[in-house]
Amino acid sequence: MSDNDDIKTDGSGPGIVAPDDEVPTWRERKERTTGLSRLTYEYFERARREDQDLRQESSYIERDVLGFPAWPHETVRNLAIGSVFVGMLLFLSATMPPHLGDPANPAVTPEIILPDWYLYWSFGLLQLGPINPDLAILGGEKIMSDELYGVLANVVVVGAIAIVPFLNKGGARRPVEQPFWAAVGVGGVMFAFTTSVLAIDNLLPIDPNITFDLTFLLPLVAAAIAYAVLKTMREGYMYDLNRRYYRLRPPR
């Protein structure tokens, strides 16, 4: 019966659908797969196992209710919150005057003209021309224009902030545990402030050269003070007591 041995497209006959007792289970199939899917499976399986172990060891009481259903509870709540904000928008757009004022007049420049305040730091970084070094081998010429220098200063600062999440500084949560890095942070915050002030130096009753020098000196001073204070707090009596009380991880 060679006819019957052939695979048929309508599903009849042997060879297409395996008998039930030969079909591998989903778990077996998963475990047989190789490569990325296998790795993913093992990863989640291990995580699930660890989670299960932790739950068993834990003295916490398991809650019966782990969350609320999306419908209707969460949906109704979200609709309520959304309505409030949409209502605020409608109210403001209905009550505000239709125009914010005359269009800008390019023939007149306002006396005080500044970017939005939260961009002052970037605006200030563009004014670093005086520390753009001129090279003796170029005959006193600058290697890059002041404009490019200011833009690169922005890149450096934004880049430094962007790599912070990738630095693993351990589990310390309190500045006293890491006085040095806490001081670096204080200096950074101070630098953000002083560059912002540098951006509006034309409005300050201070010589712009002094403002410029303070822009770099004040963050150093602030960092030094922060370091000294944190070090002192760490050496102090209360730190040990607190550490015992809160069972902090002992500092390295």
Binding site: P103, N105, P106, A107, V108, T109, E111, I112, I113, G129, D146, E147, D201, N202, L203, D207, P208
Partner: protein
Amino acid sequence: MANDDNYPVESDRRRFVKGVVGGAALSGVLTTGAVSVTSLTTPSGGGGGTMNYRGANRDLGPAPRSIPQIPIELDDDGNIMGLWPEPETREEGGVEFLVSEREFEVDGETVTYSTEWFQYCGLQTFQGIEPDADQDAYFRYDDAPPTNDYPWMENIIGGSQMNVDDFDQYEDWGNDIGDAGIGQPATGTWRSEDLPPEQTIPIFVMRSALIEELAEEDEWIAQTCPEGLIAFVGKCTHFCCVPNYKQLGESANFGAENKIYCQCHQSVYDPLNIVEEQFVSLPRPEDG
């Protein structure tokens, strides 16, 4: 291993073909993008190009170059005009366009004044910058003269023509900013009558005894600054703000209490130091 036949076998040949096809597609996209960006951003129209001009020296700040000077002529009644020579038609590269030019003899050399000196910062799109625009060349005061900063302008009627007789305190005028006796300043407009603010060309005019002194030595000043009057276009060469003169006390922080000062990025120009510089003037867009 059921999925293995879903994809072709990875081979050197296949990688090579992938590379060639991918590279070709990428370069095609980049070329098309570059061509379209170029064609979209290339300014059309005539006029403009690299030219030498004279202006108030940039002393400080991020501005790239000096602020261009407007040569001045006086009519018989002493009314002040910015020099606007008779337009001529010129052809370059098959495009016909108008120019307003005059040649000055300065120290045995020819200096060409062209109204294309002012084709920057969007001024090139202003109606008044067209060489044959329906505007006269007289300087006019602002509709609302800045009397707070320049108290001498209190008797000035807004929008009236500037006259040299208005500048009679030029030898000792001063306000509470900087030193007195540098010069008597005024702000105004040029070739912008009956035009909206976004088409108004702001100017800065000053009459100064120091300019009269300079005119005795400098042939350019002597020919373009009659009676100690000097004028500049009110557009900072950095980001096109309208700079001011002795209007803001903060200018003293930047050594600009006696100079033209732009409050946007603290550029400083010296109206008493006229230098020759080069810049690329923008073409006027064609009508349409």
